[in-house]
């Protein structure tokens, strides 16, 4: 593939589309025909999302099929993943084919699988974190240094202040937790947020101007 197709055309598309959106956001008033025209561009994101979903499905199947083929690590789970994906896909397509599925989740069977299997499995996995946190509390939090000690004390105050038992032990705990959250935490998070925003603006400008080309893949 020529350099023009691989490099220059994607860079031109990024530059043109990026600057149209910048101009629309900062220089065109809401409700004007010119601003409304740019809404067409944002609508194309839906098309890209659907395409990305299809690519994701293919990549997932490919990855797990290769793992099974090579008898790789935990290949048995790859088998379960593929079976689950195919069965759920068939259920969804069946719902569409029989017109039972008027909207995204209307098929009774599709909804049943989601509500009664997926939802509970997902909640269970997430709730297991509580056990790991308890174990980590015993193994990891040590008064090794001043910073670690501050982290430990503040963490303990938050644990006491953000549960009803803290207020029962001493009514000052909830107020301390609230202060920690709204003052030192807000200040730290604000600094992080502003730093991230400045970094994102810088990266966006570099991408629009074609200086940052990492998203196009290796230059070969």
């Amino acid at each position: 593939m020529s350099l023009v197709v691989k490099r220059y055309i994607p860079l031109a598309i990024t530059f043109i589309m990026g600057f149209i959106m910048v101009i629309a956001t900062y220089f065109l008033a809401p409700g004007t025909p010119a601003r409304d025209a740019t809404a067409l561009l944002t609508a194309t994101v839906d098309v890209l999302v659907v395409t990305a979903g299809a690519i994701g499905l293919v990549a997932l199947l490919r990855h797990h099929l290769m793992n099974i083929n090579k008898r790789g690590r935990f290949w048995q789970y790859s088998t379960i993943t593929i079976i689950a994906v195919i069965i759920y896909l068939i259920i969804g397509l069946y719902g569409v084919a029989t017109h039972e599925q008027r909207y995204m989740y209307a098929s009774e069977l599709f909804s049943w699988v989601y509500s009664n299997i997926y939802v509970h499995m997902d909640m269970t996995i997430f709730s297991l974190l509580a056990f790991f946190i308890a174990s980590a509390a015993y193994r990891a939090f040590r008064l090794r240094s001043l910073e670690a000690s501050v982290l430990l004390i503040v963490g303990s105050l938050m644990l006491l202040g953000r549960a009803p038992i803290g207020g029962v032990i001493w009514e000052g705990f909830p107020a301390i937790a609230e202060w920690l959250l709204t003052v030192p935490n807000a200040a730290g998070n604000r600094a992080i947020t502003i730093g991230i925003a400045i970094g994102a603006i810088s990266l966006a400008i570099r991408q629009l101007l074609g200086v940052e080309r990492g998203y196009l893949g290796p230059e070969r």
Partner: protein, 298 residues
Amino acid sequence: MPTEEKTPFDRRYIYIVLFVLISIPLLYPLNLPIPISPMSQDVWDATVALSPGDIVVHSFDFGPSTLPENEPQCSSHLFHCRELGLRVVAVAFWAAGGPLAHDIISEIYGEGYENTAAYGTEIVYIGYIPGAEVGMQTFGDSTWDAKGTDHYGTSLPDLALMQEVRSVADVTLWAEWTSGTPGEQQVIQFIQGRHQGENTDWPLVRGEHLLPIVAGSTAVSVPGMMPFYSAGQLVGILNGLAGAGEYEKLVNDVYPQYPYEQGPGLDAQSVAHILVILFVVIGNITWAISKSGGGKSS
């Protein structure tokens, strides 16, 4: 970063102790008093300040993993909105939130609510809008353009309530139930920021009328929201399970028919928090002993 050390015993004993101790208050609630935090009170105050008929957007942007925290938050607030006579437009910018939202709305407005007279006038559920931040931006600019039909296939212009909601300028309050991205920061960036000053009924924040946003999130995400809360961009926050319990308690005090169900969960959370602190203390004592004994700390 803390260094992980091996336990002198099988860590599964810790899991068993935690499991047993949090099971007790779930089976036999301790009924600990629930203090109402200022952040939860702010959500309540922002909601009761609205007038009957005002339009509230409920955005269900979470997945099943955080359902135990997000569901009681949005359910109690949705109930509160219904009781106050507020009209609700529900959306989901997370695909996983789409079916969850349908179930939660059905609990409050009744099973089959989409076939009642109230649907289209008091409540509309638009469903999942794809595109994440871009979907949010489009919805804020023009609700009809974000998605042609509601969750049930009805064209949005055919719904009386949606005739009044052409953009976010027609909305009085945004309730964001989230556990990630897109979430409250994207609503602030792509909706609140783009439409400031478009509705003079919105409260003044630093001289500009801003769309009021209340949010409910997992406790782990709330610290990241604090800069926006202190700046007035978020008017109130329900902080995790504790925030959900606090709002349920506020609703239950005024509307006793709404059950207060988070008590046992918060009791279990209290026990778990105390247990974690105890584990930290015991872990440090054993570490100090092993260190003073001249042995290797791990």
